[in-house]
Amino acid sequence: MTPFPIRPGRSWGRYPATRHSRVLRARWRDQPPTLSDLRGPLLASGCGRSYGDSGLNADGVLIDATGLDRFIELGEHGLLRCEAGVTLAEILDLVVPRGWCLPVVPGTRWVTVGGAIANDIHGKNHHRLGTFGAHVTRFELARSSGERLLCSAESNPELFAATIGGLGLTGLILWAELRLQRVPGPGIDQETIRFEGLDGFLTIAAEDVHHEYTVAWVDCLSRGRHLGRGVYLRGAHHPLPADWAPLAVGPRLRVPCDAPSALLNRLTISAFNALNYRRAPRVRSRRAVPFAPFFFPLDAIGDWNRLYGRRGFVQYQCVVPETAGAEAIHEILERVGTSREVPGLGVLKRFGAQRSPGLLSFPRPGLTLAVDLAFRGHATLELLEGLDAVVRQAGGAVYPAKDARMSGESFRAFFPAWERFSRHMDPRFSSSFWRRVNGS
C-alpha cells in the first residue's frame, strides 16, 4: 500500500481542488461494492498520482481501490496476477530479488496496477517495449450493470482496448495479469551525457536505438543557442551486487508543509537548473547504480508536489510526430522560456514506433516533452492554451493523465478515437476530466 495517504479532492498537481460526495473502499475482489446502488457518477482511484483532474470526480463517488492489494499468482515464466490496487513498488519489491522486473515503469513507483492500465503509462524504455498496456494479458472489469467481464485480446477485445488508457471510465478493474521481464540484477549501468541545446539532444537520440532506457532532463529557462540544454541519461539493466536497499520503504525526506509560493521562482529555478547542468560531467560518464534512483529520482522526496505551494502546479506533457518534432519542441521551449511562468523540471524523450494498445493511449511515435509549471492562474492557462495550438498544428497530443485544462476541441483532435471509446464507457462512470472535455 502507498505510504502517501490519499487526500481525496486533490490530485498530485493539487489543482484543481474538488470535493467528492463519498469515498468508498473496495477491499475484496470476489465482492466488489454494488455499483448500481451508489448515487452520482463513479470513478475508481488508486494512489492519486494523476496530476490533473482525470483522477477526480467532483461531487461524485470515488472508489478507493488501494485495498485491493493482494497478489494472486506469480508464474514461473514471469506471468504475474494481482489485484488492481497493488502498487508497482510492491511488485518490484517482490520480483526484483527473484530476477524479474516490470517491463514498463513510470517516473514514480507509487502508482497502482489499475492506474497504470487506466493511463496506459510509459517509461524510459518506450522505444523498446512500448506502453504498460502492451504487457497486460488480461484483467477483470466490474461494471455498474453488475456484470464482471474478463477482458483480453480474445475475450471482449474492444472493451480491453477501451480500458487500457481509458482513464478509469469503463468500470472498476478488479485484478490484472501482466508479463514481467527477466533482468540480470537490481542495478542499472547508467551513462550520463551533457548536451548544449536541442540539436545536441537530437543527435544523441538519433544514434541511440540500442539502449534499453533513455531520457533527458532539460533546462526550460535556457535561451538562445543554449535553448533546450540538458543532461541525457541512458542505461541498461546490470547485475549490481548486494548493496541495494529494499524498495517499498517510503522516502527518507518529506516536504512537511506547503512551501511559500515565492520559493520556486524563475530565479531559483534558473539557479537550480544551472547547478544541475554543471554537476553533470562534461564528458560521457558511466557507472552502475541501483535501479530505484535511476527510475524514480523524485520518489526520494516525499510529497514533493508541496514545493509548489498552496496553489499547486500543472504538468504539461505533449508528444509531437518526428517530422514536425524538433520545430514544435523548439517553439514550445521558446514560449515557456520567454513567458513569465515558472517552469520546473523539463523531461524530454523520444517515443518509439510501438503501437499503443489502448483506444485513448497517449504515446505515439515522436518526441515527448513534459514540463511542470507552478499554477499562477489565468496567465498559466493562457500559455498552455497556446502550446496546445502548437501541438495540434504538429499533429501531436497532450497527456490526459497530467491535464487539468485542455479544451474539448483539443481533446477530440488529440484523440480521434474518442467517439469509438465513448461507446464502451460504463454509463455510471465519469470523471471531472471527462465532464470538462465534453462540456458538461
Partner: protein, 249 residues
C-alpha cells in the same frame, strides 16, 4: 529472531482482518509456514494466495467461525501439525453499542465472540504450547479494555476480560518458556472502524502490523499499538471515576 535454521510456523486466527493479514505478510516475507483461519472461504483463499506469492513456505487454511466451538480443538490440532512458533489471535468484531444497550442477546453475542471464544481457544493453545515447552501466544485486544466508556463498554468489557485472562496466563506459563503477548491497538483505520468518524490518532493497518510484529518478535508482555497509546491510556486511566463519569468519551 529466526528459530535455528528452520522456517517458522505461525497460526493466525482471524487472518482476513486488515491488521492480521498485514502481520501475516511480514511472516510470509521471511518464508514462514502459515496456518490461517477465517470465516469467509473466498476471502481466506485470497489472503492465502497473496501470502504464498509473497514467500510463505506453506499456507494452510481452515474455515472457522469462532462461535462454532466444536471446531476449536481440530483447528488447534492442525496448527500443531509441526512445532508452532507463534499463535496470533486477531479475530474480533466491534459490536453496535447502541444495540447492545437495548438487546441483551446482542450484548451476550458480542461477549461470546470477543471474550468467551477467545478464552476457549487460548485454553486449548496454552495446553499445547505448555507441552511443547516453547512458543509465543499473542492476542489482539484493544485500548478499549483499559477503561470503560459509554461509547463502547460492551466491547471494552470483552477486551478487558481477555486482558486479565492473559495476565494470569502469562504468569502461569512463564516458567515453561511460553510467552504471552498482549497487543493493545488504539484506533486503526480498518474496515471494522470505517463507519466511525475519522480519528486524528488513527494509524494505518500497515503501521499497526509493523508494531505488532515487532512486539511479538521481541517478546513484549504488553504492547500498545502504536506506542503512543501507552501514555494516552495512562492518562485516561488516571482520571478519577467521579470525574470520568461526567466526560463524554
Amino acid at each position: 529472531m529466526e528459530a535455528e535454521g528452520r522456517p517458522r510456523r505461525v497460526l493466525i486466527v482471524g487472518a482476513t482482518s486488515a491488521i492480521a493479514s498485514e502481520v501475516a505478510r511480514r511472516y510470509a516475507a521471511g518464508g514462514a509456514s502459515l496456518v490461517l483461519t477465517g470465516r469467509n472461504p473466498a476471502r481466506l483463499a485470497a489472503v492465502g494466495d497473496d501470502l504464498r506469492v509473497r514467500g510463505a513456505g506453506s499456507v494452510e487454511t481452515e474455515i472457522l467461525d469462532l462461535l462454532d466451538r466444536g471446531r476449536h480443538a481440530a483447528v488447534v490440532k492442525r496448527a500443531f501439525g509441526g512445532p508452532l512458533d507463534v499463535a496470533l489471535i486477531a479475530h474480533g468484531d466491534l459490536p453496535d453499542q447502541q444495540r447492545c444497550q437495548t438487546d441483551p442477546g446482542e450484548a451476550a453475542r458480542a461477549l461470546e465472540l470477543n471474550l468467551v471464544a477467545t478464552v476457549e481457544l487460548l485454553t486449548l493453545l496454552a495446553g499445547e504450547f505448555q507441552a511443547q515447552g516453547s512458543g509465543t501466544i499473542a492476542v489482539v485486544t484493544s485500548v478499549a479494555g483499559d477503561r470503560g466508556r459509554q461509547s463502547n463498554y460492551v466491547y471494552g468489557a470483552a477486551k478487558a476480560g481477555v486482558g486479565v485472562f492473559l495476565q494470569g496466563l502469562r504468569q502461569r506459563l512463564r516458567a515453561t518458556g511460553v510467552r504471552v503477548v498482549t497487543l493493545k491497538p488504539g484506533f486503526v483505520d480498518t474496515p471494522m472502524t470505517a463507519h466511525l468518524p475519522p480519528n486524528p490518532l488513527a494509524s494505518s493497518p500497515q503501521r499497526a502490523a509493523r508494531a505488532i510484529y515487532r512486539a511479538i518478535e521481541s517478546h513484549r508482555d504488553v504492547a500498545y499499538i502504536p506506542w503512543f497509546w501507552r501514555p494516552v491510556m495512562a492518562l485516561i486511566r488516571a482520571v478519577p471515576e467521579s470525574l470520568f463519569k461526567r466526560l463524554r468519551l
